[in-house]
Symmetry: C2
Subunit: 134 residues, 2 copies
C-alpha cells in the first residue's frame, strides 16, 4: 500500500506538519498508522485536506468543519449549511464592492475633508461591520 509520510502530505498539501498534528488533535484528520513515530496517511488524506481548506476559505471554523466532515472517505457535506454559507459570501461580496468603490473614491476625491464629502458619508453608513482578511 502506498501510504504517505507526514512529510509528503505536508509538502503535497501545503499544510505544515505542525498544522497536521493540530488538525488531528482537533479531530479533523487521522493517521492510519505510524512508521516509528512518524504518522502515515492514506492517500485520501489529500482530497480531505483540500476539503478542509475549502471549508476554511469559506469561513467555517475548524470545529464546524470537523462536524461537517464525516469519517468515511466519501465526505458528504451538509448541503443546507453550505448553501447558507454561499449566501453569506454573496452578501459579503456586495459589501466588498461598496467598500472598493468607496476606497477608490477616497483615493481621488479632492473634497477638503472626507468628512465633508456626501459620497463618503453615504457609504460609510452602509459599511459592513466585517473585516477584510489579509
Amino acid at each position: 500500500m502506498e501510504l504517505l509520510d507526514i512529510g509528503d502530505v505536508s509538502e503535497r498539501s501545503g499544510t505544515s506538519p505542525s498544522a497536521l498534528r493540530y488538525y488531528e488533535k482537533r479531530g479533523l484528520i487521522e493517521a492510519i498508522s505510524r512508521k516509528g513515530l512518524r504518522r502515515q496517511y492514506e492517500p485520501s488524506i489529500l482530497p480531505r485536506l483540500a476539503l478542509i481548506r475549502l471549508c476554511q476559505a469559506a469561513g467555517f471554523t475548524l470545529e464546524e468543519t470537523a462536524e461537517m466532515l464525516p469519517d468515511e472517505p466519501r465526505f458528504t457535506l451538509d448541503r443546507d449549511k453550505i448553501t447558507a454559507r454561499a449566501d453569506d459570501i454573496d452578501a459579503q461580496i456586495e459589501d466588498l464592492e461598496k467598500l472598493s468603490k468607496l476606497l477608490r473614491h477616497i483615493a481621488k476625491c479632492t473634497a477638503p475633508s472626507h468628512a465633508e464629502c456626501p459620497n463618503f458619508q453615504a457609504v460609510l453608513n452602509s459599511l459592513p461591520h466585517k473585516k477584510v482578511p489579509r
Copy 2:
C-alpha cells in the same frame, strides 16, 4: 465649547469606551482634555472614528491605520495605499465569487464524492488562501 465626553463618543460612534482607550494607547486618537478623570473629545473625533472604521473594514490593521491617519483634523489618507487595498479587495471579490459558485455546486452535485468531481477539482486549485470573516 462643545466637547464630547467619552460616554457620548462611545454612544454616538458605537465604539466602546474600552475600545476608545485602546485606540488611544495605540496612537489612533487623542482626548483633548479631561473632566476629572474622564476623557473629553473634540467633535471631530466622530468622523475620525468613522474613518478608522472604514480602514478596519478595508482590512488595515490598527497600526497601519494609525500610520495613515495624520494628526490634523483634515485627514488625508495615503492614496497609493488606499488604491492598492482597493485592488486587493477586488481580487478578493473574484476569489469569493469562485468560492460561492463552488459551494453552490457542492450543495447540489451528486457525484459520488466531491473528490471525483472535475468541477470541484478545478476550482479547488484556484482557491484563495484567505479566509472569509464571520
